[in-house]
């Protein structure tokens, strides 16, 4: 990876923020309401603290890593050549599968909301083709795209949420008591699960141009995502209440569908669909890029681009065969994917970093 493809810390931060918007909006508020009931709108706050803790841990592990090295390099240094490669291959396979899952969830979401007569295959193929085309390009281009789109995405989300304000009722958000504390903590787990995905972006750490003495600035994306999670949960719950929210697959979208601005503008869900499509596309492209970076490190190749297309094909296969119907898919979405994700992001990768530290490899 040449210097020309280097990105700044800020660009990586923006890339993480835009990418993680996709799963954050997809799972909320339903997954948090399942655990926390009407107190679910508070669930992003403990998730923020847990995310901050994980950030601090990962920053501590990466403190003395030389410039140009990402997590894949760290794994091979920390665990040694053979084991490190095996670890990287395992991670690459998981992230390929995860990219397929993200494609399929994007397709299912579009089918459930605006294209009931479509087929998931169309969305998966188009999404992967576009993402692979971008993923094979430079990290800089993808990060710049995310930078350009971010204010638009945030602006659209803020405008849409504020438009929903007249329908929000305190009666559907209260009461929240101290007894709800435990439920709020449980409710924060799905939010935290999404936040942990940032760990995978550290595989692109080798492409970040580090300024001497500059500290990683990852706090803004974490705070931003927490604010989005808070907004989505608060407005959805305040509008349709916990019972209706928990029974719906895309409760946030249903709320958006009801928005009327001064009785003049209505049916604004198209802009939310645009947000979904853009964030899904950025996320999948970033995942393909991460996987290609891992394969590059494992094989010792000079360029990543050659690995993107095969990864895209494998992700497509995973997307097609992950589940036959929406119910099978829901099982993956609710249980298996979060469990595997937490195993990698919260256990295996930090453990690998810890081993490197203990062996004083960096």
């Amino acid at each position: 990876m040449g210097k020309a493809d280097g990105i700044t810390q800020r660009q990586l931060t923006v890339l993480i923020f835009v990418s993680l918007l996709s799963p954050m909006i997809r799972i909320l508020p339903t997954s948090a309401v399942v655990f926390a009931g009407r107190a679910a709108w508070l669930a992003p706050l403990p998730a923020f603290l847990l995310g901050r803790l994980l950030l601090a841990v990962m920053d501590a592990f990466g403190k003395n890593v030389p410039e140009g090295a990402g997590l894949a390099d760290m794994a091979q240094t920390a665990l040694g050549g053979g084991l490190g490669r095996a670890f990287n291959v395992l991670t690459a396979l998981w992230l390929t599968f995860y990219a397929g899952f993200v494609c399929r969830s994007a397709a299912e979401r579009l089918l459930a909301t605006v294209y009931p007569n479509g087929s998931p295959a169309v969305f998966i193929v188009v999404m992967l083709l576009v993402a692979a085309a971008v993923g094979a390009g430079s990290t800089k281009a993808l990060s710049r795209t995310a930078e350009v789109l971010m204010p638009i995405l945030v602006g659209v989300l803020a405008a849409v949420l504020l438009s929903a304000l007249p329908d929000v009722s305190a009666e559907r958000l209260l009461p929240v008591t101290l007894q709800d504390g435990k439920r709020v903590l449980y409710g924060s787990l799905p939010v935290f699960n999404v936040l942990t995905v940032f760990v995978y972006f550290l595989y692109l750490g080798g492409r970040v141009r580090k300024k001497p003495g500059a500290r990683p600035r990852r706090f803004p994306w974490l705070a931003g995502l927490t604010a989005v999670a808070l907004g989505v949960t608060f407005f959805t719950l305040g509008t349709i209440g916990e019972h209706l929210a928990v029974s719906m697959e895309n409760a946030f979208f249903i709320v958006i569908r009801n928005i009327k601005v001064f009785g003049v503008v209505e049916r604004v869900e198209a802009v939310v669909v645009a947000v979904w499509v853009v964030t899904d596309f950025i996320f999948v492209a970033a995942l393909l890029m991460i996987v290609a970076e891992i394969w590059r490190t494992v094989t010792g190749a000079k360029k990543c681009a050659a690995f993107v297309a095969p990864t895209g094909v494998l992700a497509g296969v995973a997307a097609f065969f992950i589940a036959q119907g929406v119910f099978d898919f829901q099982k993956w979405s609710d249980v298996l994917i979060p469990a595997i994700n937490l195993t990698f992001a919260l256990v295996l990768i930090p453990l690998m970093c810890a081993v490197g530290k203990l062996r004083k490899k960096y």
Binding site: N117, I240, N258
Partner: protein
Amino acid sequence: MKKAILLTLALALALTGCSKGLTIFSNYRRIENIELVRAFTADAREDGVLVSIYGTAGEENDARMVEKSGPSLGTAMGELLMMPLGREAILSHTENMLIGEDMARSRLNECLDYVERYSETRLDIGLLIVRGSSARDLLKGLSGSDPSAADVIAGLANHLDRVGEGTVFTCREVAVSLLENGVALVQCVRGVEEEKLFDARGDLNIEPAGFAVVTEDGQTLEFLTGEETLGSLLLLSRLRSKNLDLTVEDAVFTVSLEELKTAYEPVFDGDGALTKMKVRIAAGAKLVSLRGVADVTEKACREAVERALSERLKAAAQAAVARSQALGLDFLDLHGVTARKHPGKLAALGRDWSEIFPALPVEVEVEGALRRTFDIMDSPEIAEKEEMTPWEKLTESLKDN
């Protein structure tokens, strides 16, 4: 390579459905081939459901009604939307759904489920129950060409809020209330053959007919009287405006409610038992017209009007509470009020709300205030009789206050 990337990116255009030739979806529709359904009706039949819509058809845009029955709302609507008017009917901008009494009694959940599930419909569709006739007959009776039946129904929804004879709860509000309280209020309407307020050409007009009380299990369908409906609006803080005629001595004061504030206070005793629910309603009103002899510049006169106003509203609120308790259905959401004010104490009661609620004493206090009489302070009769100077009137007024 760049050309290949551009070509690949161009594939994304197919996602938009903007081109008939290239698009990969069946969502593409030409504007002249669609019919926006603003209102539809559903009635229960022995063999299923009858749904009806009213729209324009053919090259001359003739207004006509089409209907379809099927074993379920989904099947009937599915067929109706595809075949009826020579164009595809879509529900993306539907404003109101009218259902017959039988439908409300036996298939209300099916209606709500359809609205929640169908990808085109919004949850904020107004839900109305038709009393005294089938919803289909009402739609047919309303169907003059100018204004359209949908305009008449939408006009009624606005009219209700302005005259304080009810309010149209949306499917979202009804569904949330059913899920959270097990009971919900739904606005009722009926068709009348006279007094055409909205519809000059149809056979029928539409008028409000109070609230219906429906339960989650679909087993209950009760109707509230006008007084109980007014009380419910007051207690749910949904009354926007209402003109009331108040008789004080020989004069009739017509006042318009303009500011309403309802506050609840659950009262617990030292043992933690819920002893009563205090409800305080502050009602501000303005004088709209006055018939008879009365001097509103006199404090005693204004106080008498305020007392009459308070008593009138108190009676309505008490009627709503009494009906709610008699039915054992907390459609005024007193449980929610208690849970929000004292969640800990409510949880500690250790008894089911359905046991507590029917016998819970509810104390209603109403404080009516006449806030504005506009430029005319006296009734015409008084003004003619009295010939006080402005200074004398002012000092008299100051003495009163």
